[in-house]
Amino acid sequence: MNQSQSDQPTQSQFDQLVEQVCAVTVTDPETPLVDLGVDSLHTIALVMAVEERYGIEIDPEVIGDPSLTSSAGLWRSVQDQLAAALPARAGS
């Protein structure tokens, strides 16, 4: 990821990815996906797509925790992973 500040993906854009993959409408990003009717295999498919999109690896434990598998929760995981990868990339 080599994006300027203005190009940084946003929660809103992430919501769109969730809606596209899971065929749901995200009205509140903090709503657990399971409460939107997204089953566990669908959540896995979403996280697979997220990993590939952002070039990161998400902790599998995240998937088993409904409080972390909201659109906002997953987006926080993505941002954490991207931030953790920054120093290594800056030094390479």
């Binding site: 089953d39 295999l41 498919a45 996280v47 697979m48 590939e52 690896e57 998937i63």
Partner: protein, 397 residues
């Protein structure tokens, strides 16, 4: 016991290969088109992230993640099905067995489009059903004759509620029932209170990308639709589905649960993930291109070797896996099987596709999995076998 099947309807050994034999027998897909590196990476990711779920037992439902992937396929033939109408299978063979066991009752009669896919005939017989040919004319299933047949069978005390067909790029003939005929067939089915079993493994494999409206699209309450990923992705995942009216879907779910306890969550998740990432269009196009090329090579070779005015008659299909040859004088093609083996080529004799000894004058050639460079040689070998003097049937007087 009532599940005994007659020896002549044993499944032909289609998938055995080896030696120098060029096999035109088994209907195997051409997996050269699969993007294996992508699939490998996705399976690895899937197991790391969701192995504890994907490798676990699950309930007899199509996973929510797979429903859009199924509907993406079905919509190409004008139809869809909600999750409440979907039942997971390990491929359509399981779907056929589930329908035979769960919807029909032992002893009742199922009408079957013939020549018929032998796996369907074997499944229905194993479920204790009696098979009767569905009447056809030159344009396929004949609704008017169907009315007469059903009324006659019912008058004779037979229970007739089901009609099995493979209406698009049929196995083995490659024929497709016209949309007009589909409407007529459904009108007759409503009038006679018949359920249609629409087996549709090849519907998206036309050579030109065109599709034909599914029977299920025209009357989803009158059709039990059998779908499969075996021909549009790969058979090794053993994953398919049934789309049926909700009440029948509930019954079929119970039956499939008894048959297999649980569908493969791993297969469902892998297919869902593939669809999420790439959709189906590129893979379908790759399969179509492969089969179009192979079919043309086989048909051109058949024309060159057997001519168009000799005893062997066939039509170039518009899709699917097969070319169906018939002998003009009705010779039983089983007679050529030994000569074919001696020449190093195999095919499926037409008698495998009859339900009571008919269609023995046909033979099925499958082009889908033969190496392009071997098709012409295989047809040359076949022509040599078919051109030999007609031998007597072994054991015949």
């Amino acid at each position: 016991m009532w599940t005994d099947i007659r020896p002549e309807v044993e499944m032909p050994r289609l998938f055995e290969r080896g030696g120098d034999v060029i096999s035109f027998a088994g209907g195997l897909p051409d997996l050269d088109v699969l993007p294996l590196e992508t699939i490998s990476a996705q399976l690895s990711r899937l197991v790391r992230l969701g192995g504890k779920l994907a490798l676990q037992y699950t309930t007899p439902h199509v996973a929510g993640a797979l429903v859009p992937a199924i509907n993406d396929l079905m919509a190409r033939e004008g139809t869809t099905a909600g999750a409440d109408r979907l039942v997971p299978t390990g491929g359509s063979q399981m779907g056929l067995m589930a329908v035979g066991l769960g919807i029909a009752a032992p002893g009742e009669t199922v009408l079957v489009q013939t020549p018929a896919y032998p796996g369907a005939a074997a499944a229905f017989r194993t479920a204790g059903l009696t098979l009767h040919p569905a009447p056809e004319d030159a344009d396929g299933l004949d609704a008017a004759a169907l009315r007469e047949t059903v009324l006659r069978l019912r008058a004779a005390g037979r229970t007739v509620r089901l009609l099995y067909c493979n209406p698009t790029f049929q196995n083995p003939t490659g024929a497709t029932l016209s949309v007009a005929r589909r409407h007529e067939l459904l009108a007759a089915a409503r009038e006679l209170d018949l359920l249609l079993i629409e087996d549709n493994p090849y519907g998206l494999l036309s050579f030109d990308g065109e599709t034909t409206t599914a029977l299920h699209a025209l009357d989803p309450d009158r059709v039990i639709y059998l779908g499969t990923f075996s021909k549009v992705f790969a058979p090794g995942l053993r994953c398919g589905w049934i789309a049926a009216p909700e009440q029948l879907a509930r019954t079929l779910r119970r039956t499939t649960e008894i048959m297999s306890l649980s569908p493969s969550a791993l297969a469902q998740a892998a297919l869902a993930a593939f669809h999420t990432r790439a959709g189906w269009s590129d893979l379908l196009d790759a399969y179509r291109t492969s089969y179009k090329e192979r079919c043309a090579l086989m048909a051109d070779a058949l024309e060159a070797e057997l001519g168009t005015d000799g005893p062997w008659q066939w039509e170039r299909p518009g899709g699917g896996f097969y070319i169906w040859l018939r002998h003009r004088d009705g010779v039983d093609t089983t007679r050529f099987a030994e000569a074919a083996a001696e020449h190093g080529v195999s095919y499926v004799p037409g008698s495998h596709f009859g339900i009571d000894g008919e269609h023995a004058d046909g033979l099925r050639l499958c082009f889908s999995n033969v190496a392009r460079g071997r098709i012409a040689e295989g047809v040359t070998r076949l022509a040599a076998a078919l051109s030999a003097p007609v031998p007597a049937l072994r054991g015949a007087a």
